[in-house]
């Protein structure tokens, strides 16, 4: 993702294959996630990303640089995905329910309703949890693939690829509150996986 526009458009227009291969490899993971949130299968998402890149190549001569190249590429992607898309609303199951196991919190009749139970209070993680070991990295990568599709898309775009909230809303057709709910649910799920697995 550390690819900048500086000279990139010119290099692509001049037929620099290495520059094109690099930008395809760098941006396609996020593009696959966006595409997959509009279509039903991974295979279709791959086709959509490929089709979008062809659209980028065909339109490159017309690109005027009013938006960044990345914004322009993702706009072409979303248009391509929408043409192939299902257009479903966000699956409500992805938005409902608590994000902390209710058994860890005290009941309504307790002296401190909704507070952490003594034996289930989160404890501070040590320094080893802060350094991403190969094992933790593999665990997180796997856990991302197991998140519900929209949560996965939002978490990957925001926290792995560094997109802004407003960009993610636009790319995934989400309202700002739903974008935050999905982000929180995904993060909370991943946190709980690290909590169990941490060294």
């Amino acid at each position: 993702m550390t690819i900048t526009d500086e000279g990139l458009v010119e290099r692509l227009r001049a037929g620099d294959e290495a520059a094109f291969a690099a930008v395809v490899r760098a941006w396609s993971p996020a593009m696959l996630r966006v595409a997959r949130s509009h279509v039903r299968t991974d295979a279709t998402a791959e086709e959509v990303v490929q089709e979008a890149w062809i659209g980028v190549l065909r339109g490159l001569r017309l690109f005027e640089g009013r938006a960044s190249l990345r914004t322009w590429v993702f706009r072409i992607l979303v248009n391509t995905a929408r043409r192939r898309g299902r257009g479903d609303a966000v699956v409500m199951a992805e938005l409902a329910g608590p994000n902390v196991d209710p058994d860890r919190l005290r009941g309504a009749d307790d002296k401190y309703p909704g507070g952490w139970r003594e034996t289930a209070t989160p404890s501070w993680w040590g320094p080893e949890a802060r350094v991403l070991s190969a094992e933790l990295r593999a665990l997180l990568t796997q856990a991302l693939t197991e998140l519900p599709e929209r949560q996965r898309a939002v978490v990957e775009l925001r926290d792995v690829h560094g997109f802004q909230a407003t960009e993610v809303c636009e790319l995934l057709d989400l309202t700002p509150p739903n974008q935050r709910v999905l982000l929180h649910r995904g993060r909370a799920r991943l946190r709980s996986i690290l909590e169990v697995a941490r060294p």
């Binding site: 037929g15 996630r33 190549l57 909704g114 993680w125 802060r130 929180h184 946190r191």
Partner: protein, 83 residues
């Protein structure tokens, strides 16, 4: 939530507000209530720290890109279209 004392927000409610808190979309009153709760509650402070560690770790993950044969096909198209 129009909180004036820390006890107005339970841990159960607070953990659900933390992404909104990190995104800076809570009202000043809500933010102050979360801050007060975090000062007094070690469990929630640890939970927030764990969320931050998780977010930082995600920034270092590398995700799958297009398969090589798909990239090769695109390179063929590139040669054809930008020659």
């Amino acid at each position: 939530m129009s909180a004036s004392t820390p006890r107005d927000v339970s841990c159960r409610e607070l953990v659900e507000l933390l992404t909104d808190y990190l995104e800076g979309v809570l009202t000043p009153d809500e933010t102050a209530a979360v801050d007060r709760h975090l000062e007094l509650c070690d469990g929630c402070a640890a939970y927030l720290d764990q969320l931050r560690v998780t977010i930082n770790a995600l920034g270092a993950v590398t995700l799958e890109t297009l398969p090589d044969d798909a990239v090769d096909e695109l390179l063929d198209a590139f040669r054809e279209l930008l020659r």
